[in-house]
């Protein structure tokens, strides 16, 4: 009789993903589901990338350009000279390990190379070899290694298992920002012609039409109008937002996910309702039709190029300042780089001042751009909105601090003040998983492509795990956030780990609670789902009164325009 192995033998013989060798010796493996699809050669070429070529991560040979070593060497040299921070990050790590267990990818995979210290070490080992004396002489003993093609594969693998969320840098005594190191590694890979489709397609679309999906102006306008029809269905109020109109005080730029994708559209409807209600003097633009910037996941130059349209459009339309939607990485680009990339601001722009409360947003004096969450929090603080939080009583909401606006912008209190005003049931996730220590959604920085869904479920586990805690203990059924990528990424993450928890932006909740002049009693929320506690029927004379008031207001607005 043939001898079957025992189950113990079988399991012992099944290879783990991680053989037991020193980290420098382990080569990355590319099995389907572990890597994002490569960018198309034609698209890369059209965008002017050098060395664009056809390649596939699972292939042995990545068809690197012949002088690939020189490209990496020169590329790194140039960036070390350009970014002082990079040199400091390369030199100062003392390998104390404080960052090691702070990365969601490490916590979800337990792969040691997902410890931020090792992720950075992948580049550092090349840096040591070529740019430090000790490395040149001592080699491996000094943590240095020479380039070989497998190292390029490794850089690719781990640069695309980092969402540039910066949680690790919070815990590093030297403030080493692994996100910046990842960004540089990705830049270097692009120089070799190695890009990913999920990032390059939106970049290319943005370059052509202004937004990630490549939607053209007429379609953009008509889609916004659909959303206005939906608003009318729910509230009885007709909104006619201006497009590309000159002479308005404010240019509104939202991430396009809020216009094209579920559940972002409900957030966008919330913006439109709010603007209508407070009589904001604004315009949308079908050219600056994207706040997001996938260029920032490619290179500094690409980020700069795609970002320029915001000021161009403000200048063309004569806007005084820009009100930006609930986005994450958009604000990283704006706050960290925009002034240097695209500044100085056009002459027509002024330090943003809320026309309703008079608050001057000094924090935005350099960029002239205000995050809508700051704007609305200010309205609420000054009691400028009529709200009925009971309309959100079917929800028990928790708040996901989106990495960029939270950790990078310090936007912690504003969203909470809004939630507390528009929802009666708000529950915080456990400490050490919120505010500056917030866990990433697991798929930011261009990692939200469907082909790596498994990887995303691993990376998002720490976030989901904290959400599951409040779902189990406090019956939370909604997770709100202020980032369009989160609104795309959290739904599958919740569906997998915490089914029953839906995702929404903050202004969806604002839109639900906002009492609008002349509206019909609401029976539905913005998703057109029945409200658990519909508005009481209004007496007839009340409706008339409101109606008249509303009509005269609209006339006022018309006059201003």
């Amino acid at each position: 009789m043939a001898k079957l192995p025992t189950s113990d033998q079988l399991l012992a013989a099944t290879p783990t993903s991680f053989p037991d060798k020193g980290w420098m010796e382990i080569k990355p493996e590319f099995t389907p589901g572990t890597y994002p699809y490569p960018a198309k050669e034609a698209t890369m070429k059209a965008l002017g990338f050098p060395n664009a070529h056809t390649w596939a991560p699972q292939d042995e040979d990545w068809n690197l350009p012949e002088n690939w070593e020189e490209i990496i060497y020169n590329g790194l040299k140039e960036r070390l000279e350009k970014h002082r921070s990079l040199k400091v990050f390369m030199d100062t790590c003392v390998r104390c390990g404080a960052c090691a267990d702070k990365c969601h990818f490490f916590l979800g995979t337990n792969d040691p190379k997902n410890m931020p210290v090792l992720r950075a070490e992948l580049l550092r080992s090349i840096y040591r070899k070529d740019f430090t004396l000790a490395g040149k002489i001592l080699g491996k003993i000094a943590g240095a290694r020479s380039l070989d093609k497998a190292i390029i594969k490794e850089l690719f693998s781990y640069a695309y298992q980092c969402t540039e969320c910066r949680r690790c840098s919070l815990f590093c005594p030297y403030g080493i920002d692994t996100a910046e190191i990842t960004a540089i590694v990705r830049e270097l890979l692009y120089e070799l012609g190695l890009g990913i489709n999920w990032v390059i397609e939106p970049v290319s679309n943005c370059n052509r039409t202004g937004n990630h999906l490549g939607i053209q102006p007429h379609a953009f306008k008509e889609i916004v109008e659909f959303l206005c029809e939906d608003i009318e269905e729910i509230t009885g109020i007709h909104i006619d937002p201006p497009f590309n109109e000159k002479g308005h005080e404010i240019l509104v730029i939202a991430p396009s996910g809020d216009i094209f994708a579920d559940p972002g559209i409900y957030t966008f409807m919330g913006y439109l309702m709010l603007f209508h209600e407070i009589g904001l003097d604004y315009t949308l633009s079908t050219y600056a039709s994207e706040g997001g910037n996938f260029g920032s996941f490619v290179s500094f130059d690409m980020a700069k190029k795609l970002n320029a349209k915001m000021y161009h459009e403000a200048e063309r339309l004569g806007s005084k300042w820009i009100l930006g939607g609930e986005c994450g990485h958009m604000w990283r680009v704006i706050n960290q780089y925009m002034a240097t990339y695209n500044g100085p601001t056009p002459a027509c722009m002024e330090v943003p001042k809320s026309p309703i409360t008079g608050t001057v947003f000094e924090n935005a004096s350099a960029t002239k751009m205000v995050h809508i969450v700051e704007f609305t929090a200010d309205l609420i603080k000054h009691n400028k909105l009529n709200l009925r939080p009971e309309r959100n009583d079917h929800l028990i909401t928790t708040w996901h601090d989106s990495c960029n606006p939270a950790r990078a912008m310090g936007c912690f209190e504003e969203p909470r003040s809004i939630i507390n005003a528009v929802c009666n049931n708000f529950v915080e996730m456990p400490e050490h998983t919120i505010r500056e220590e917030t866990f990433c959604c697991g798929s930011g920085s261009g990692l939200n492509s469907e082909e790596i869904m498994d990887l995303r479920m691993r990376g998002g586990l720490p976030r989901a795990n904290a959400a599951r805690w409040v779902a189990d203990h406090n019956n939370v059924n909604r997770i709100a956030c202020m980032c369009a990528l989160d609104r795309a990424i959290l739904p599958p993450l919740m569906d997998y780990w915490v089914p029953g928890v839906d995702v929404s932006g903050l202004h969806e909740l604002v839109g639900n609670a906002l009492i609008m002049k002349g509206e019909i009693p609401r029976t539905m929320d913005l998703r057109q789902e029945d409200l658990e506690y519909p508005d009481p029927e209004v007496e007839e004379d009340e409706i008339e009164e409101n109606g008249v008031e509303n009509a005269s207001e609209e006339q006022d607005n018309g006059g201003e325009e």
Binding site: M115, I223, P492
Partner: protein, 186 residues
């Protein structure tokens, strides 16, 4: 109840052995971390593995546990393993290794101490019960694993739909497929 008592008395050690069988799937360099970090929120892999297996262990040795709780404990550990880049056997296989642990560390010890035929018979009967409970868990795990994988595939499809819902709505309208009474061309 000789075997069950032994398994209950030595739970800490035996459970830890079982947990370690699951941890073997993780690289040695980091599995120290899953073992040592006790924080619920900063070590989710450790938390899920420990708490799920704790419940399942009790269920196997016959403690009185709500079947729904057993099912959800099993679902949690399988859900974790199903997305961790493992072969299916690696993902759920360690469940069955509790048999090895119980045989080596409980049954054989009990057999040495109680080697008269009456006691041996009792011991075997007890073991067969345990053995079939583990089989039941294993069968449930198979179903859970495959439904988790299906779930991941569905997530991928649903995401594509969500990401361009309004563009599809627009395109359908353009094709005249969607009824609307509002003239958007106006």
């Amino acid at each position: 109840m000789l075997l069950m008592e032994k398994a209950k008395a030595d739970k800490d050690i035996l459970l830890q052995k079982w947990v370690d069988m699951f941890y073997k799937a993780y690289p040695l360099g980091s599995s120290g971390f899953v073992r040592t970090s006790k924080d619920k929120f900063t070590n989710p892999i450790g938390l899920i593995t420990q708490t799920s297996l704790n419940t399942l262990y009790d269920a196997v040795i016959g403690e009185d546990i709500d079947p729904a709780k057993v099912h959800s404990a099993l679902a949690e550990i399988v859900q974790l393993r199903a997305i961790q880049e493992m072969t299916p056997s690696k993902a759920v296989g360690p469940l069955a290794q509790l048999k090895t642990i119980l045989k080596q560390d409980a049954l054989s010890v009990c057999m040495k101490k109680n080697n008269d035929s009456k006691n041996l018979e009792k011991l075997f009967d007890e073991y067969f019960i345990v053995d079939s409970r583990i089989d039941a868990l294993f069968l449930m795990a198979l179903d859970l694993y495959s439904s988790d994988r299906e779930k991941v595939f569905n997530l991928r499809v649903e995401e594509v739909h969500r990401s361009q819902s309004q563009v599809v709505r627009w395109a359908k309208l353009r094709e005249g497929k969607l009824e609307t009474n509002h003239n958007t061309e106006g």
